[in-house]
């Protein structure tokens, strides 16, 4: 196998960043170039700030849906048709909001002065993932990344965990708003309508967001934590909620299961909201969480089977710094395992699209529909379909058909640019001192400038980082 060798500058731009741009100078001090980005990150870029109000859109959808149900009960057929049209309109609003969110995400990734930090936003959004499988989550997905992930990407893990678990998107996605303490006043008031516990959010917090699967907790711990979380809801959207801000967390004391809880052997006697919060903060600081996060982070940079020594150092950094994320990133940037010259990762469809557009000189997505493009490439943005998020190993992305699609998309992206860009000079800029000889040769012999650009985007050197 021709073993391509990446220069430190190419690694900083592509493995840590989101791909070089033609006007990027190769960084002279790659590590410094990365840490300097901590001061340049824009938390709330214009595209995200301009998104329509997700809570209101979700509320409108719910009202339209309730109206249709009511009409159906009253069998007023003529009005029902109008109502169904209203519901369809409000569903299309949600889709438009989702697509605008995806455009904002892509714009931010294309224009950013801090591509490494943007990459970490994508990493954490996939770690604390919601999946736009239902209308309300479809509305909230963009706001979730903007409000729960971006403000904390250079903060602490615990703050990000709290913001993510208490965001309407997560509370709705993992059914928390419907979970009611079986011994709570709300349940007692309505004994005929059997409402009760839903352990979905509790389990996924423990399994996926913090401690990690097989880290020693039991079914009883999950159920106890689910009881502690009862009452966590959305102000304007929970069952029966008629007013209030649909974008805000609410604690509904009447739905909270009374009494103290024992989780992983520790007693939680706090009243109300503080109980679930205290347990979550304990999980966020647990050694199992440090290892879980360290493993995922190491896998994202050092390869599908990350070195154990790197995992141990990252976990130690996480624990010592109490989950301070810039400290963790600094440990990663200092790690030789993350700078091995052989490419460590096969790009996911999202990474490949963004690095292609950056390489071709795009500063914004413009009229290009990024959501549609990602669907065609097999990785719908914010829709992994399961709370574990997207896989971060090559076997999940390097499939025969997936490869063919990248070739087809590359041709389409390159088609309008053949007059303006010369792949023979562009490719060495995107992969400074790293372009493979075979790739350079095939690019120089392509039948058209656009063909050469397309070939550059799907060359083995460019499919990996």
């Amino acid at each position: 196998m021709p073993s391509p060798s990446l220069s430190p500058a190419a690694i900083a731009l592509n493995r840590f960043g989101l791909g070089a741009r033609s006007d990027d100078a190769a960084p002279a001090d790659p590590k410094r170039w990365l840490t300097d980005q901590f001061g340049r990150f824009e938390v709330r870029p214009a595209g995200f700030a301009a998104l329509d109000d997700a809570g209101l859109a979700a509320q409108r959808y719910r009202e339209a849906q309730q109206a249709v149900r009511q009409m159906a009960r009253q069998e007023a057929a003529t009005d029902a048709t109008d109502m169904k049209a209203a519901r369809k309109d409000s569903r299309q609003d949600l889709q438009a909001l989702y697509r605008a969110g995806v455009q904002a995400r892509a714009d931010s990734a294309l224009a950013t002065a801090a591509p490494f930090v943007e990459r970490m936003v994508h990493f954490w959004a996939n770690h604390f993932c919601v999946s736009v499988d239902t209308p309300p989550v479809t509305a909230f997905a963009g706001a979730f990344e903007r409000d729960a992930i971006r403000p904390h990407v250079l903060g602490s893990f615990a703050d990000m965990a709290l913001a993510a678990e208490r965001h309407p998107a997560m509370l709705l996605y993992l059914n928390q708003v419907q979970s009611i303490g079986p011994g709570s006043p709300a349940a007692a008031r309505n004994p005929d309508r059997k409402r009760g516990l839903n352990e979905n959010l509790a389990r996924e917090i423990m399994e996926l967001h913090t401690l990690g699967v097989r880290s020693g907790y039991t079914q009883a711990d999950v159920t106890e934590f689910a009881r502690a979380l009862t009452g966590w809801s959305v102000e304007g959207l929970g069952p029966g909620a008629r007013q209030g801000d649909p974008n805000a967390f609410a604690f509904r004391a009447r739905q909270h299961e009374p009494g103290e809880r024992t989780i992983l052997g520790k007693r939680y006697a706090q009243p109300g909201d503080a109980q679930g919060r205290a347990a979550l903060l304990d999980f966020a600081a647990a050694p199992a969480t440090a290892t879980h996060i360290a493993t995922k982070l190491a896998r994202h940079f050092a390869g599908d089977d990350p070195p154990r020594a790197l995992i141990a150092r990252l976990a130690d950094s996480f624990t010592r710094s109490k989950g301070d994320l810039p400290t963790l990133y600094a440990t990663l940037i200092a790690a030789p395992e993350a700078w091995v010259p052989t490419p460590t990762k096969f790009k996911t469809p999202w990474e490949w699209t963004i690095s292609s557009l950056r390489g071709l000189g795009y500063r914004q997505a413009g009229r290009m529909q990024i959501a549609t493009l990602q669907t065609q490439l097999g990785q719908r943005v914010w829709k992994p379909g399961a709370p574990a998020g997207w896989d971060d190993i090559a076997a999940s992305w390097a499939g025969p058909d997936a490869l063919l699609r990248r070739v087809e998309v590359a041709q389409r992206l390159a088609a309008p640019l053949g007059e303006r860009l010369d792949a023979r000079t562009l490719a060495p800029k995107l992969l400074p001192a790293s372009l493979g000889a075979a790739t350079a040769d095939q690019i120089s012999r392509a039948e058209s400038p656009a063909g050469a650009l397309a070939l550059m985007l799907v060359a083995p050197d460019f499919l990996r980082r």
Partner: protein, 381 residues
């Protein structure tokens, strides 16, 4: 030399995306027998799919989910979910067999670990690296094309030493021949990309005249199209999603099962005469809680139901050593207690479907999950 490829007709990406991930995976083998594995990702509720209406505890536990429609009565104990109309007809023709209270060796409640155990055939998650379906393909006499698969990427059950291609319907325009030639040259020396690329080209050649829609019935028809090509694949895997019914299960599961029913009917109809030599196995990673939760759904559980469908299945029966639903009979005081091993069912069904020795198949597919005694008498030879 690159095979001439043709545009597929209209594609409806995203339609039914909650039910079917855009993927079918297939493998060729020199046999006229066919084996299809349909995985239900997300833990399908076996107690709602095949309802133990004869169990005295059932009505009390599940009245809120069942409502007025107990389903299609199969025998004194079991009724089939009312959405499974076509599968009910298969049962009446003795072409459907159900195994209830069945589970893989996995006993915890994580979807991802549970699916990994189901697909690799290990006793623990992430211990075995390749999938049992890949090891099964390796046991078959090879066709000229080794193996082919169809899905944008390859599911775990089909990953392994036998190279598996993938295919999924696409709405993208095809790339120019010059680009294709140069890409082929660039990937030639790349051990990861070369085999992927070779099978992608080959598979698209096979898919020329098949429709490209992604609704469940069309995917059933598409799968049947591949399975009936003269030298085409004989092993297929279909992934279905959306079985994780934590809330509003009554409506959601009915919709899931209608989709599954439509896909299986289209597969049966598309296979035509080949249905007589086809076995379809439907299985999920684990079941769901016996009790209904506070949100009209069920949570992660243990025992569930598996189905065998096909022209040669010794069907028209439910195989179950019924553990009962009384409180003292439950697993962990909350789940259907497993009394049958899914591994034993898979080994027996795969062996008898493909004319292989059950004991050898059991050893090859499930060496790491302990002593598997394949269930036999499932398929007419």
């Amino acid at each position: 030399m690159i095979a001439r490829r043709h545009l597929l007709s209209a594609a409806a990406l995203g339609a039914g995306a909650l039910f079917v991930s855009p993927g079918i995976a297939l493998a060729t083998a020199a046999t006229e027998r066919r084996f299809v594995f349909i995985i239900q990702r997300g833990a399908a509720d076996g107690l709602d799919v095949l309802r133990p209406t004869g169990d005295p505890a059932f009505a009390g536990l599940r009245a809120r989910l069942i409502g007025e429609t107990p389903g299609i009565k199969l025998d004194a104990m079991f009724s089939l979910h009312p959405a499974l109309v076509e599968i009910g007809k298969m049962y009446a023709r003795q072409q459907a067999l159900f195994v209830h209270a069945v589970a893989s060796p996995y006993r915890d409640r994580s979807h991802f670990d549970g699916q990994n155990v189901l697909e690799t055939g290990g006793a623990q998650p992430y211990v075995v690296r390749d999938g049992w379906l890949n090891r099964l393909v390796a046991m078959l006499p090879r066709a000229s094309d080794d193996a082919i698969a169809i899905a944008a990427t390859v599911p775990t059950a089909l990953r392994g030493s036998v190279q598996v291609a993938s295919y999924a319907p696409s709405a993208l325009p095809h790339a120019a021949d010059d680009l294709m030639t140069r890409v082929t040259a660039l990937y030639e020396a790349d051990p990861q990309l070369h085999p992927l690329w070779a099978s992608a080209l080959e598979t698209r050649g096979l898919a020329t005249d098949v429709g490209a829609r992604q609704d469940p019935a069309s995917l059933g028809t598409l799968t049947a199209g591949f399975l009936t090509k003269p030298n085409g694949p004989r092993i297929a895997m279909l992934e279905t999603l959306g079985w994780d019914t934590h809330n509003a299960q009554a409506g959601r599961l009915a919709n899931q099962l209608r989709n599954l029913d439509a896909m299986l009917a289209a597969l049966r109809d598309g296979l035509g005469a080949a249905w007589a030599t086809t076995t379809v196995l439907v299985a999920t990673e684990f079941g769901r809680t016996v009790a209904v939760n506070g949100t009209g759904g069920t949570d992660h559980g243990t025992g569930s139901v598996a189905m065998l469908l096909g022209g040669a299945v010794q069907g028209g029966r439910v195989v179950a050593d019924w553990p009962g639903l009384a409180p003292g009979r439950l697993y962990d005081a909350r789940d259907l207690r497993p009394t049958a091993a899914l591994d034993a069912l898979i080994a027996g069904a795969a062996a008898e479907s493909l004319g292989l020795d059950p004991a050898r198949v059991g050893r090859t597919l499930f060496a790491k999950s302990g002593a598997v005694t394949p269930i036999t008498g499932l398929i007419r030879s």
